[in-house]
């Protein structure tokens, strides 16, 4: 109880503290009142008739009851939505497993880990797209809502990681100046332009660059663009890790007779990755959140399916409900990633002490 009373005493310890307390208290009360009134006081509960939503200004549960499935899966064939759910579940499991691997709660050997990832991604694509093993084919334009969001985010991050490693290694070395120059230019340009321009390049320019007559659907085109875009960011995080290693590591490895690839693969890279994990997690959170920008080029992620849900003439005024639902999903999933990031940061700081 002493800490609570000390805390309460701090609230008005000095005139400045008192002013700040009153100002932020007033703001929080104002905000809290609005939130409470929208979520509870003015809310229309699931068992109430939907017509009440036109009268009361709060959260309209009947809308969410009817539209949640649409927001989650969009136009994915209704009977096959179990496949989309299974694919999402699989991808989320992969993500959680990776999180545990990062903070050391799961300790899979690297090769097993990579194999699980490849198998998981393949299976997810198979579940979503079908066309084999007796699963009927679903074109990628129908992969909507939650599945496409996590598929694009996770596949892009997974694909961008090796790209980032190669770019970081190319930029970090001294032996091949031209290679280093190329990597530097690539990284700096990719980091200097908005992600939307890169998505546009993927959707509009990439098809032009393919041989005449070949066709690439928007989803794979955007995936390619995202991989090359995030790769540049990961490269910079990893380069930070590589640069923080002491020269002694490299010298010790080569005095043991290890060549470049052995030194890199067995000695430097594992340490560099561990050291750059906190900043990598930050980049991953950014990449995941920014995946929602694909809505601009007509890929129906959750923001787009949310729009579908309130474009229904019966539910025109329920836009906020739909967006808050999507926001809640992002908030929870990002909070999980942030928690991992904080954990890594803490470990990092205790290591340094």
């Amino acid at each position: 109880m002493t800490s609570v009373s000390a805390w309460a005493k701090d609230l008005f310890a000095t005139p400045l503290a008192a002013f700040l307390t009153l100002a932020s208290g007033a703001f929080m009360a104002w905000l809290g009142w609005h939130v409470l009134s929208w979520f509870v006081l003015q809310a229309v509960w699931p068992w109430q008739p939907a017509g009440a939503c036109d009268v009361q200004s709060g959260l309209c549960w009947p809308f969410l009851v009817e539209k949640t499935r649409l927001i989650l899966f969009g136009t994915y064939p209704f009977d096959l939505q179990w496949r989309a759910s299974l694919a999402s579940l699989l991808l989320l499991t992969l993500a959680v497993l990776t999180g545990f691997q990062m903070i050391g709660r799961a300790r899979l050997p690297v090769l097993v880990f990579v194999a699980i990832w490849m198998a998981g991604l393949t299976l997810a694509v198979l579940l979503l797209g079908g066309g084999a093993l007796g699963l009927s084919s679903v074109p990628s334009v129908f992969w909507n809502g939650l599945p496409i969001l996590i598929f694009l985010a996770i596949a892009a991050i997974a694909g961008a990681f090796p790209v980032g490693v190669l770019l970081a290694l190319a930029r970090d070395q001294q032996t091949y100046p031209i290679l280093r120059r190329f990597a530097t230019i690539y990284i700096e340009v990719a980091r200097g332009v908005p992600m939307l321009t890169v998505i546009f390049v993927g959707v509009f320019v990439l098809p032009l660059m393919l041989p005449t007559g070949t066709f690439i659907a928007p989803v794979p085109a955007v995936l390619v663009a995202l991989i090359f875009f995030h790769g540049a960011y990961f490269a910079e995080d990893l380069r930070g890790g590589l640069q923080s290693l002491s020269v002694g590591q490299r010298e010790a490895a080569s005095s043991l007779g290890l060549g470049y690839w052995q030194t890199t693969g067995l000695v430097r890279l594992p340490q560099a990755i561990t050291r750059s994990l906190p900043s990598l997690v930050n980049s991953i959170i950014g990449a995941y959140k920014d995946t929602s920008l694909v809505v601009v080029v007509g890929i129906h992620d959750m923001i787009s399916t949310a729009r579908m849900s309130f474009n229904d003439p019966d539910w025109r005024t329920q836009a906020l409900e739909a967006y808050v639902f999507v926001g809640l999903w992002f908030f929870l999933s990002c909070a999980f990633l942030s928690a991992i990031g904080r954990r890594l940061q803490m470990e990092r700081e205790t290591d340094q002490l």
């Binding site: 002013f19 700040l20 393919l210």
Partner: protein, 377 residues
């Protein structure tokens, strides 16, 4: 060292060259199929579409080049306004989050957490939906004195433009130059003779006095232009579109949250000993902050701020989602009309790069000045 054959350099050159040749060949063939000649000549053609807002005279009869310029100017203005907003919010947030009040600290960390865990496009759309549904139509606009708010736009009072207004505007610049010069001279004299002169009073005096003098001498007519409801819309004053307001609010709050963290980290990284040493020297709280802590915070904070500003500029491109006519959004329309994605994307990415490089080099220069002042290389 003997020049060795650098195998991976050669491989990189060969692969990239080969790839470039292949891609260019494909692009040329594809464009030929579509009956297009690659090149930038089409930029002079008539655009034929209108933009939601423009700060330079623009009509659909103008060229594609002009519409791109319109978008670029919109992007720059939006970035400038949001940059100031985000910085103010971030500095206030950062100070509150290390401040003496626990309630303030709680609010600041809640603010940071909320915006860290939401995608900016979702924040933008939520703001937009709330503004469009929550605010009244133009004819029933909320009026706060001369400011009017509707679900289409914000209407602010301004001054009736007159050519003579250049006099006070230029006099402000002149006053700033004089103030900087005076400050430098005082400091130089202080270093030489140990005599201190007044800096703050002279600065304030010049900055207020000179423009006032300019107004009186030039006899410029000061006529306020206030927005008045006439028919279906407001006349007079300045109209700030809802899209712009929502974009600025989103960018300000989103990056303000990140800058809050930057500022908090910067202040917390100043060792306790610095505070103690300053108070041992007899400096009061204000001087400790101004002379000891802030210069160090500034140095730590500039590189991450640089990052934030570049990200903010890039994030203005999200405006396309609410139909704000920024660079990205007009380019999207131009691509749809002309089917010239390659040329347009080269132009667009080049322009964004240029903007980012400009801001970065400006801040880097300032950083270098600060370091030099501290005698660091």
């Amino acid at each position: 060292m003997p020049r060795t054959f650098r195998i991976w350099d050669a491989v990189a050159v060969v692969i990239l060259f080969g790839l470039a040749v292949l891609l260019v060949r494909n692009v040329l063939l594809n464009m030929q199929d579509a009956g297009l000649e690659p090149g930038f000549g089409f930029l002079l053609g008539q655009a034929g579409f209108d933009v939601s807002e423009s700060l330079i005279p623009y009509s659909p009869d103008d060229s594609y080049a002009r519409v791109v310029l319109t978008g670029l100017i919109n992007t720059i203005v939006l970035a400038g306004v949001s940059l100031v907003l985000a910085t103010v919010l971030g500095v206030v947030g950062g100070l509150v989050s290390v401040g003496p009040s626990p309630a303030g600290r709680m609010l600041a960390s809640g603010y940071v957490e909320l915006f860290r865990n939401l995608p900016k496009i979702l924040v933008l759309l939520i703001f937009f939906v709330v503004a469009v549904n929550g605010l009244p139509p133009v004819r029933e606009a909320i009026s706060l004195g001369p400011v009017h708010i509707s679900n289409r736009a914000l209407y602010l009072p301004t001054l009736e433009w007159d050519r003579l207004l250049w006099a006070p505007i230029l006099s402000v610049l002149l006053a700033a130059a004089i103030a900087i010069g005076w400050r430098r001279w005082v400091l130089v004299r202080f270093a030489r003779t140990g005599q201190l002169g007044p800096i703050a009073p002279v600065t304030v005096g010049v900055l207020i006095g000179l423009p006032l003098l300019a107004v009186v001498v030039s006899d410029v007519p000061i006529i306020p232009s206030t927005p008045e409801l006439q028919g279906f819309d407001f006349q007079g004053g300045v109209r700030v579109s809802l899209q712009f307001a929502v974009m600025a609010a989103m960018l300000g709050l989103y990056h303000g949250a990140q800058i809050t963290e930057v500022v908090r980290g910067g202040i917390q990284s100043v060792p306790r000993g610095q505070f103690e040493a300053a108070s041992a020297l007899g400096l009061d709280r204000r001087r400790t902050m101004r002379l000891v802590v802030l210069p160090q915070v500034l140095r730590i904070v500039i590189p991450p701020m640089n990052n934030q500003y570049v990200n903010l500029i890039k994030n203005t491109s999200v405006g396309i989602a609410v139909g704000y006519s920024d660079l990205m959004s007009v380019v999207g329309t131009v691509i749809n009309q002309t089917f010239r994605p390659l040329e347009m994307m080269l132009v667009t990415m080049g322009l964004y790069l240029l903007l980012c490089v400009a801001v970065t080099s400006l801040l880097n220069q300032w950083n270098a000045t600060l370091r030099r002042r501290e005698g660091k290389p």
